[in-house]
Symmetry: C2
Subunit: 199 residues, 2 copies
DNA sequence: AGATAAGATGAGTCTCAACTCACTTTCAGC
DNA sequence: GCTGAAAGTGAGTTGAGACTCATCTTATCT
């Protein structure tokens, strides 16, 4: 009846990395980092093999941590959405309520132009159950930014959070196209922002 | 030196169907129709095999007409863009200049929600050289609608055609998401249209 | 240090879909 | 209706990529 400590049963606040052996935790992080890079460059159709190579690990290790490719994509997606939520929180506490929402949208679209991950994910598989929570969190964050902006008189009172989210995802999608450059992005978002302002 | 009439050398206004044997022309049309259906339902990742089945033809026939899958997707894309250009022309001659542009965008986005073809194509492969002409034609059409709307005072004078096209494609992309329903679509486009109106 | 289970490995399997081609069928001109 | 070329056929080839597993390695506990 002697042996290693059994896996800890408690709740794990961020990810399922508690109770993992040290090397496993390290490798999991490496995989996620590599995957984010690879998928950002080549989109979600990049092979798991390439992710493994970039992480300097064997393909089997990747599949041990993420049994299917969808799981891997879902984990990245979750990370990305969580980071967006953090940005929202930061802007909500520090930024000017009148411009925080616009700043957030601009930043996110900017980022989308570089990282195809989110975009391709949303397009290919729709919003997955695995990331539903993360999406809800982001939605709530946007709700906060929106209502502050409305109270500051910077955004029309009848705009709703789901409209903002729709505009945001649409703009992110659009950011992938040929001919989309910083200038066009700026001009296009300016139109959208004008549409959001009070008449 | 006797034999069947050699293929006609003249220009072919719509598609490369002139000089084809009757059955070939018929089958080519069947393939395009089937492909449009299949890709609209399942997106561009649907198999060529399924297209052949839907058309009631052998797989080899499909590949005889369209040597690669990209060719097939390109042909559909071209068709679709041509149809959009036709709609633009119709609205340009018949419609109210003040609302024609908005009507066109609404219709197109509406259609995108049902047919994933264009969207997935643009996302997966970028704008292909094969359809560059068709895109240019659509661009010119939008340019016309835009300048009429501006002359009618319905759209701000500083809006440019590429901004409109960016907004249009972005909205079409957005239309694929879970949670995108006619109501949300209407409200979101209303914001965009407000952004396009003179202040 | 020794024991042991967790973790890592990567060659191999399996599935799926794009594409080929030797052969058959059909159309069109005589 | 005969003939030759154009078109159609579909089993087979090929390649790519997701996923497996028998085996080896290593962290961690005593």
């Amino acid at each position: 009846m002697t042996g290693p400590k059994p896996p800890e049963g408690g709740a794990n606040p961020q990810g399922a990395t508690r109770g993992l052996r040290a090397d496993a935790r390290r490798n999991r992080a490496r995989i996620l980092a590599a995957a984010e890079e690879v998928f950002a460059e080549k989109g979600p159709s990049a092979s798991t093999e390439e992710v493994a190579a970039r992480a300097g690990l064997a393909i089997g290790t990747v599949f041990k941590h993420f049994p299917t490719k969808q799981d891997l994509l879902g984990a990245i997606m979750k990370d990305l959405l969580a980071r967006l939520s953090e940005e929202v929180d930061a802007l909500a506490s520090d930024g000017d309520p009148a411009t925080a929402l616009f700043t957030f949208v601009s930043q996110t679209v900017e980022q989308a132009a570089r990282k195809k991950t989110v975009i391709g994910l949303l397009t290919e598989s729709g919003v997955d159950v695995r990331v539903a929570d993360a999406v809800r969190l982001l939605h709530e964050g946007i709700e906060g930014l929106l209502s502050r902006a409305q109270q500051a008189g910077a955004v029309r009172g009848d705009a709703r959070p789901d409209e903002v989210l729709a505009l945001l995802t649409a703009a992110c999608q659009g950011a992938l196209h040929a001919g989309w450059d910083p200038d066009l992005q700026h001009r296009t978002l300016a139109i959208v922002f004008d549409g959001l302002r009070p008449r």
